[in-house]
Assembly symmetry: C2
């Protein structure tokens, strides 16, 4: 079963917002065995919506649309869908009452514009949106399905998970899509490809291999579309077993497990605790851990010691060392890690201190220079790495490197 | 001048990665006056690439493609482009030498696969990629341009900014695209639309209004495509002046300024300093500030006090109050903010303590309950807000609310 995802909104085409809805829906459709053949983003233009619908229905069985369902004049998706399906907009009193109650609960009056949101094309099945004022819609035409969802990510997600996914699963007899990923580290992509070339050449025809390189890591993904999921999973297990023989030292994990998830699991399984001290990463390192449910089991404390005084007062860094070696130095990185260990009363700690730029660099310590400190029950050390030239890139890379360093020293 | 952006990669269609390249290129093209008419994501399939190119060139003058230029077998964009433009792949010795040198610097041997990356279609102009092993390519056909860039975001950005944008600007006589945004807060979208209805109805025809609702905020964007930029900017100034008369109290900023950018500017302009103390937001609040260049001018310290002991030891929170009222309470939120003020030696501080879930909730304090503390030169206080039901949503909303609370109390 093939699908097309269409996201509608000028704000997407001008780059004012990042389209995260497409990714979310792609994952959800893949999970239930619906192949996403194409994704398209178009503007709030009736002409474009009509042409895109025609083309999408031409090559796919399911079309999922998000966006353009707001109460204001710039949102035209619903009227255009009514036109496409040659259907009248009629007032749905259930939806109308719900919207009125929802707004009352938030202390917002029910305006004519909100009343307009309860009008839906007569031919559609209404998908009740429990979290907002724009109902979703389900259309059928020639055995194919068009689904329209609000663009607000939170509302879209609930409607997708609670309503669309179950309805699609019962409406179509779906086969399985299987994606399995092995994470490798330490071998550059082209060398890795050479080392596993004969394994790759002998893969069963139903399996497709993809290389996904990222900083420090190459992911190898095996995919199979519209198959018997259980039997293909067993085939993939066997192929991954063979791969383990070829590159045993390079395999660091499976699926989309991030290195922070590996640290998380290790801490929970071993009953150990963690603290972090950050300068250039400014909280982003702590946030990686605390984003994971259950982090409170091991994550004791993070300190964002941006000022030198904070490094001294909270982490106990020696001001003379800061004066002598600079805040971005081996000595300070080690003292920050040890200070985090102490302040957080934890078993492990990792620290970052660097120059995120755009200013603050020098010939000796250019923008991108980052020192990382690691404190473990076995002792402390620090290493330096250049993390790039752009502020957000430096922060991201420094966070990734700090987590990797920690993981290697557990 | 109309364009289509095409991102290629199965990893996009299955949702394994988030497509951020499309947004980046959209912004860049808009800035130089190229209208993005459509964005499309397709798989690593020759058939799909060829069909998409045909269609994209049909309705646009410029097609920008990213992805599929890696050294491994799953990447087929370059071969497919050579086929599309009926051109031989030839070895480019400049690129070959560059790739060899680049890899040598990283201590990676130059393999046959890397050598393959120096082969480019004879008919294209090579766009030298100073940051990776995959050169970009520029094709012309019937007065239209097709550009192929690597999918690695960092490499794509450099090639786009340093090479593609200047080349497009000199190749085409481009008009301007103007987007200007006013940020409002405090009036729900539908009420706002009613209050400004007659202003909206009387906008000059060249201006298009869009409503962009987000938590606590509605952005109003005026856009004009392929116009005289200076004259349209003056028109928009006048229209925004009129709007200021209609909803003076609701306007909180302009353009895409986020509330954290407003706080940032205020701190810098007023020479004040800030610290934060976080529990449930786990570093994400500090990271919002430290992501902005120049934050070190005012951001002193952040404390992620996840454990109760860290709240006591680093922030001086009273353990008896934690026992009596719980860690998620008014008393603790205030003490955390005051502790951050003290530990960071700053003028202002804001704190978060809440239940991010999925576990840890109770009937009295369900998941999503967050207390926010604010400490200012005028004194301290705390407020409570329910931030939702999903961990990442709770963290995001709590961060947004903490920053808004702080901004309102500067």
């Amino acid at each position: 079963m093939k699908s097309t995802i269409v996201t509608i909104g000028d704000e997407i085409l001008i780059g004012q917002i990042l389209d995260t809805n497409s990714q979310y829906i792609s994952q959800a459709l893949n999970r239930i065995g619906v192949v996403v053949a194409e994704r398209t983003s178009i503007g709030d233009s009736a002409e474009q919506i009509l042409a895109t619908l025609d083309r999408a229905l031409d090559r796919s069985d399911i079309v999922v649309i998000t966006g353009g369902l707001g109460p204001t004049k710039d949102d035209i998706t619903k009227h255009t869908l009514a036109r496409y399906f040659n259907s009248e907009l009629i007032y749905n009193s259930n939806e109308g009452e719900f919207i009125e109650t929802l707004l009352a609960r938030r202390g917002i009056p029910f305006t004519e514009l909100n009343r307009g949101q309860a009008f839906v094309p007569e031919c559609c099945t209404v998908l009740h949106n429990a979290h907002g004022t724009a109902p979703g819609m389900w259309f059928e035409k020639g055995g194919k399905v068009v689904i329209s969802l609000p663009g607000v990510p939170f509302e879209m997600k609930h409607l997708n998970d609670d309503t669309v996914v179950p309805m699609l699963s019962s409406r179509f007899a779906l086969k399985s899509i299987v994606h399995r990923t092995m994470i490798t580290s330490g071998i550059p992509e082209s060398l890795l490809a050479e080392q596993i070339a004969s394994w790759e050449d002998n893969l069963p025809a139903e399996l497709h291999l993809a290389y996904l390189p990222a900083p420090n890591v190459v992911r190898l993904r095996l995919s199979a579309y519209e198959v018997d999921g259980q039997s293909v999973s067993r085939t993939i297990d066997k192929e991954f077993d063979k791969l383990k023989q070829i590159i045993p030292q390079a395999i660091v994990g499976f699926e989309n497990a991030t290195v922070e998830q590996l640290v998380h699991s290790w801490m929970v399984e071993n009953g150990k605790t963690l603290s972090v001290a950050e300068s250039c990463t400014g909280g982003a390192l702590a946030a990686k851990f605390t984003a994971m449910a259950g982090a409170s089991a091991y994550f004791n404390a993070g300190v964002v010691s941006y000022s030198n005084e904070a490094k001294r007062d909270i982490l106990g860094v020696n001001m003379e060392d800061i004066a002598r070696y600079g805040a971005v130095s081996e000595a300070v990185a080690i003292q920050m890690a040890e200070g985090a260990l102490r302040a957080g009363g934890s078993d492990y700690a990792v620290s970052t201190t660097g120059i995120a730029g755009p200013t603050g660099g020098s010939a000796e310590k250019p923008v991108g220079t980052v020192w990382f400190g690691v404190a473990t029950p076995k002792g402390s050390f620090a290493v330096m790495k250049n993390c790039g030239t752009d502020r957000s890139q430096i922060i991201d890379r420094a966070v990734a490197h700090a987590i990797k360093l920690l993981y290697e020293n557990l």
